[in-house]
Symmetry: C2
Subunit: 239 residues, 2 copies
Amino acid sequence: MTLDALPPHQGGAEQLARLLAQALLAGHWQPGDVFPRELDIGAHFNVSRNQVRNALTSLTAAGLLERTAGRGTLVREMGDWHLLDPLMSEWMTGLINLDPQLVKAIYAFRFSAEPVVAGLAAQAAQAEDIERLESAFTGMEKTASSVEARAEHAEYDVAFHDATYRASHNLVWRQMGHLLRPSIMALIHRSQDRTDTLDDSLTRHRQVLDAIRSRNANAAESAAREVLRRTAIDLGIVS
Amino acid sequence: MTLDALPPHQGGAEQLARLLAQALLAGHWQPGDVFPRELDIGAHFNVSRNQVRNALTSLTAAGLLERTAGRGTLVREMGDWHLLDPLMSEWMTGLINLDPQLVKAIYAFRFSAEPVVAGLAAQAAQAEDIERLESAFTGMEKTASSVEARAEHAEYDVAFHDATYRASHNLVWRQMGHLLRPSIMALIHRSQDRTDTLDDSLTRHRQVLDAIRSRNANAAESAAREVLRRTAIDLGIVS
DNA sequence: AGTCTAGTAAATGTCTGACATTTAGACAAG
DNA sequence: CTTGTCTAAATGTCAGACATTTACTAGACT
């Protein structure tokens, strides 16, 4: 794989890092491949070696690359990626070509984890957590009917689930909220036209909200499972 | 807080990063405090500005610091830390002064998550996963009796739980295995002298292993919960 | 007195060129 | 066939100058 297929870029090292990271996430290189040399990257994009090094430092920290003096830069396999690094979430968001295997893995994680998180949220939620959940839910309601607001709807969807993670009041669970945006965005094209399933989704989200509000952990748990079940079935995670 | 209290260092930027990170994790600076300037750090440790910058880049990527040109470097609060960054796990491991609140948060996470993971593992485990679990378990058995082997025992303990996460065959869950080492190491001094509780621990670990081996998800789930319950009670996570 | 503006100091960010170190491979001597 | 050495090529490091951002200060003007 060469750099020729990549679009030009403008801006700092962050932009360059995003560009390269998204190319890696899209699978333009195979694990074990040698990544282009610093000087070649710099020449191709007309940036200094510094910027290239800064960008590659980010990708290395995210587990995408492995660099050794003398040998060069190698592409690591998916199992080594730091999927929970916020930078990774940012890079994954808005990436159309995200590997279906990865989308499935993230969703399978959510399907197993979010019921537990919702249960914890029902136990630990404070007033401000409930407010965040309600605000996100009403946003989802407002944007449910119109088709052109589906991007906005997805944002409220993200906000709702993120509010659930935050309501657990656990520092570790809260970190995983970062995975929500790429996960939800990657599935935005799935069953987008069926308004009946959207009504269904709203109803189930409401049940999660109600269960947390009434501090019913078991109800929150099963409600959260129901929210995710349809897509889990579609993805072949559960039958 | 000044740098004077920190021990000297030798080695590259990684050592320096570890040193500074552990000082931050131990709470030597308060959130919002200004961190020493690059040049001061370099002067104090006799390293080049490059090394300092590389070290600070790591700490920034881990969410420990926030840097802005002109203003300087600020210390971020615990809620912003990237607890799931493998570097953080490495830094936390072997740190005696780890914030009790953090230890509790990580353990609370494990107490809620690991039963689910064990259930998944029972469904997805392959032969090699079982082998890893068995190998770790026999290691735990061998090192259970002698007192001087407690460090080695802890390593087998880490290996056992990590094998559980890996056996789930989910990329996201697998990442969280990194948290195990600091969590287990931080609690190594807790009830270390009670051989009866150690026998108890072994028995319960065996039940997890057996449940996964016989693909009984429900049994694995409750067995994993029992493994963690005693410490969870000690930490005040559950009553 | 108050407010806007220009200027200044101080911090991080960037660039550049040279050099150091590590690695893989070639090639010859033993 | 092994060992050792040399060479080329890649990343890592250094040092110094400069750029940019930020906060603060001192005047000028109303």
